[in-house]
């Protein structure tokens, strides 16, 4: 066990985490150069495109250290975005240490700090690594100061490297071996293994990624999942060396995979503890929490026939994404769909994109909402995240909405615009303090709902990309929320309805009307798009009837081409959603969620 190190890399987006991971793997010969792809761990297209890691992947490396010994290094990849702190947590639980990666020119950012605090909760040993030292704009001294001031770590212990060029990778590996603790745990104790990730294999069912804390795990063993009480028998255990390599057992301290005939994905909870069914541990591993979604939206397939496929796809996605929750939902306008809960807006977008790309399911999404606490005049309280279920204002005593404490780090020259942005977003108690010369951390108590709608984009825009943002949920506070209905030719489109603060209702309704007017194609008749509270119209735009849609020439007998074009267009129409006699393309539902600035 003393030759095992298990660690993760904590970094802000774009600070080079995936590149560093690739280098470590390459350096340890974990992959031949032929197999080597850039950013090996980010194996999903979306991750590659957005430069973020969504799913945590794990790899076990064999490192021949300078002391002549060979170490087994378990690298657990973690997502870097604030939405995925739940996934970060369970990855951290599997580790003894973390590399805290800081970009030599960008310095310490809000997410780095947030994740470091998480890591501290799990008592991980931390090694600061300054990456991108090859950049002309690298300012190592300043970054060292930030490591001391913002992170409270010893800047002299920072390892310097350029993952891109491969310089300093040896030093990083040596630091892992010598500065991170060895796993503790007793192989003879009753089994406790943490499920920190899972993936779906179409041939073998659920593959669980586990960290064995105590005891041993081997094929043939009867096991129990302590939070769900489900029982299985282990079919295979093994190591994750880019490919899965079966081994006879995984003992305390080991990281590997487990196949146990788990078919139903709902049987698994990431973060759950596996124990031996015949010799169970007295308690599960502490620190388990269920991921709590904070953003809710409904997803509808374009055609009703795809509803079943959507259900299956969500079930599969859930296997890799413990934080995703969903339940059946139906809309008068859009038919059957699912109401889903997400960790944040990025999480929502990632799920949507995966459904569209991996499962070929184009979707229509309703306006995302937070979960409101509504107290009724009869004293009952109810939680509402779906505008369709928002009670009649006549029976509402009070409404509360979730607040967050946002931490925004940025150069001090942007204080003005960022404070203005927070004010616009109903921020309260906005204050700031200097972290270092020229660098501030601004905190503000903001309604979560105000952050959902493009806050990050706006922040990036007003700080020219220098501002970074992290938040945590704090409490519920009184609010004045109204339900804004969107009507297309007088018919309310329930999937476009939303709960909005009264002061924001009119501009939001107008934004929706204008976006819809710009994306709904012209029809043979004039279409009114209206925003309304109750029966009162608060915003309106109009889509004029089209006046010309006919080919000039239809001669020489080539009717076939003309008919085929029409047949194709007829099929295309079936992909649109009909609301009354108006066809609304999927793009309209997407467009309303974007701001003019993005």
């Amino acid at each position: 066990m003393d030759s095992v190190r298990t660690f993760c890399i904590i970094a802000h987006i774009d600070h080079g985490k995936s590149t560093l991971a690739d280098r470590l793997i390459q350096h340890c010969g974990g992959v031949s150069s032929r197999d080597f792809r850039d950013q090996l761990l980010d194996d999903m297209d979306i991750e590659r495109e957005r430069g973020i890691t969504i799913k945590s992947n794990t790899v076990t490396l064999s490192y021949a250290a300078r002391d002549g010994r060979t170490y087994q290094l378990n690298l657990i990849d973690t997502p870097g975005h604030v939405d995925f702190s739940h996934e970060v947590r369970r990855s951290l639980m599997a580790c003894e240490g973390a590399l805290l990666l800081v970009d030599a020119s960008q310095g310490v950012e809000a997410q780095t700090v947030a994740n470091m605090y998480l890591a501290l909760e799990y008592e991980l040993e931390m090694v600061p690594v300054i990456n991108k030292i090859d950049l002309p704009s690298a300012d190592i001294e300043r970054v060292k100061e930030e490591i001391a001031d913002d992170l409270g770590l010893d800047p002299d212990g920072a390892v310097q490297c350029s993952a891109k060029l491969g310089t300093g990778i040896d030093d990083v590996l040596e630091a892992i071996v010598h500065r991170l603790p060895t796993p503790k745990g007793d192989p003879e104790a009753p089994l406790q293994a943490l499920i920190f990730d899972a993936e779906y294999d179409p041939y073998r069912g659920a593959v669980l990624l586990v960290r064995v804390m105590q005891g041993r795990l081997h094929a043939g063993q009867p096991i129990e999942l302590m939070h769900t009480d489900a029982r299985y028998e282990v079919e295979e255990v093994g190591l994750l060396q880019l490919k899965k390599v079966p081994v006879s057992e995984l003992a305390a301290g080991a990281v590997g995979y487990l196949i146990a005939g788990v078919k139903s994905v709902s049987d698994i909870n990431i973060g759950d503890t596996i124990t031996d069914a015949e010799r169970p541990a007295p308690t599960p591993i502490p620190g388990y929490r269920e991921a709590k979604p904070v953003v809710f939206a409904s997803m509808y397939p374009i055609t009703n026939e795809e509803y079943e496929d959507l259900g299956k796809a969500l079930e599969k996605l859930k296997l890799n994404d413990a934080a995703l929750i969903y339940e059946k939902d139906s809309s008068a306008a859009l038919g059957f769909g699912y109401r889903c809960g997400f960790l944040g807006l990025l999480h929502l977008e990632v799920v949507q994109e995966r459904l569209e790309r991996e499962y070929d399911l184009p979707l229509i999404l309703s306006a995302p909402s937070v979960r409101y606490r509504v107290t009724l005049t009869d004293g009952r309280t109810t939680m509402v995240d779906n505008p369709s279920y928002f009670p009649d204002p006549g029976v509402i005593e009070r409404v509360e909405e979730p607040y967050i404490k946002a931490a925004i780090m940025m150069p001090d020259r942007y204080i003005g615009p960022v404070m203005e942005l927070c004010r616009e977003r109903r921020g309260e108690g906005t204050t700031f303090h200097y972290l270092a010369v020229g660098r501030v951390e601004l905190t503000s108590q903001l309604p979560l709902a105000e952050v959902l709608f493009d806050f990050n984009d706006r922040l990036k825009s007003v700080t020219q990309g220098y501002g970074s943002f992290d938040y945590q949920l704090t409490d519920y506070r009184d609010t004045d929320v109204v339900k804004v209905d969107i009507l297309v030719n007088g018919e309310p489109v329930d999937a476009l309805a939303q709960l909005v603060h009264r002061d924001k209702a009119r501009p939001r309704a107008l934004h929706y009307c204008e976006r819809l007017a710009a994306t709904i194609p012209r029809h043979q008749f004039k279409i009114a798009v209206q925003g309304a509270i109750g029966g009162q119209i608060i915003a309106r735009s109009t889509i004029n009837a089209f006046r010309k849609d006919v080919t000039a020439k239809c001669y020489g007998g080539d009717i076939t081409r003309k008919r085929k074009l029409l047949e194709k267009q007829k099929k295309g129409k079936k992909k649109m959603k009909m609301v009354g006699s108006v066809e609304i393309p999927q793009s309209a539902f997407v467009a309303v969620l974007k701001t003019d600035k993005s």
Binding site: Q524, R547, A552, C554, G557, R563
Partner: protein, 392 residues
Amino acid sequence: MQPDLPGPASSERAGLYLHVPFCTSICPYCDFAVLIAGEERRREYLTRMATEAELYRGCGLVFDTVYVGGGTPSTLSGDQLGGLLEQVRSSLAIDPGARLHLEVNPEDVDPSRVREWRGLGATFVSLGVQSLNDEVLRRLGRRHDAARARRAATLLLEAGLPTVSLDLMYGLDGQSDAQWRRDLGEAVALGPQHLSCYQLTVHDGTVFGRRARRGELHELDDDGQGRLFELTHRFLADRGYEGYEVSNFAAGREHRSRHNQKYWDHTPYLGLGPSAHSYQVGRRWWNRRKLRLWAADLGEGRRPLAGEEVLGREELALEAVLLGLRTSAGIDLERIRSSFGVDVVAANQERIRSWSARGLVRLGAGRLAPTVAGMAVADALAREVELPVCGG
């Protein structure tokens, strides 16, 4: 995939189309099968046309219209044209009283050519005027000017041909409503029995298409196109020209293009020449587009086919609807019901009711006929129609 030769004789009189692919220059908006060729290739073309016509000897069709289109048929000399028609007549059954429809360009019109065309029996001559404005003609890449077009029109009209049609284009980038109205007014003043007014369509693969993609040419927006369409129909209706089809206007029913109407109601037609299309009893086939390949097939005794399809009842019904909605006569509901088993009205009651309420169609006398506003959106209406084929 050679289709069978057309089936047994039809009681209907069929239409014969002869495609002349030659032009003296290629217009920047044109996406037809055309080319510029020397005398040798023209001779080869004429020989192969005779070969192709001979392939259909005994096909059972009797033709009462012959349409010579292109391309520019008037680039063929009177002798060439006469020879072509004679060879076709020797292979196929053409009514002695068949109408002969000829497309000609203004630069080819002079008194002796007009005499030749009359002598060949032309009953309907379409003159490719395009515009009576020199600036517009220049932008359209035409070889004639407005004066030449006027002269050509006058010559044809004075020759006493039964129907002379002037072909015009509108909806060009930068063309004002007033300009187009002036063009129309001048054309009407010449006194043709028929007018074809085509709204410019920018096709990919044409010079205009490339210019549009580069942003150098702007197509009129939907409102502008609709406005011009209605202006055109209103202007000509006020002057006695009925818009009997999207782009066609006749001063009296007898001046409508009888040949073109066959395309619109599934009357059999046979097309000879590169890219020509043919239709008979639920089957449509079309020739290779390139002159060289078309000629090569015929030279080796093969039918020069590029494709064919057998249409199902639903497809036929859709065509009947989309073509019917392009004509003032509208959709023949009984024909669609009895021939294709589709009850258009029953399957689209709510839709037709709302179209009527919006002034797009009129239902009556067994027909669903578009108004001018409805004709302007005929494609959109056809896209909406449901056409469930009933059993039996």
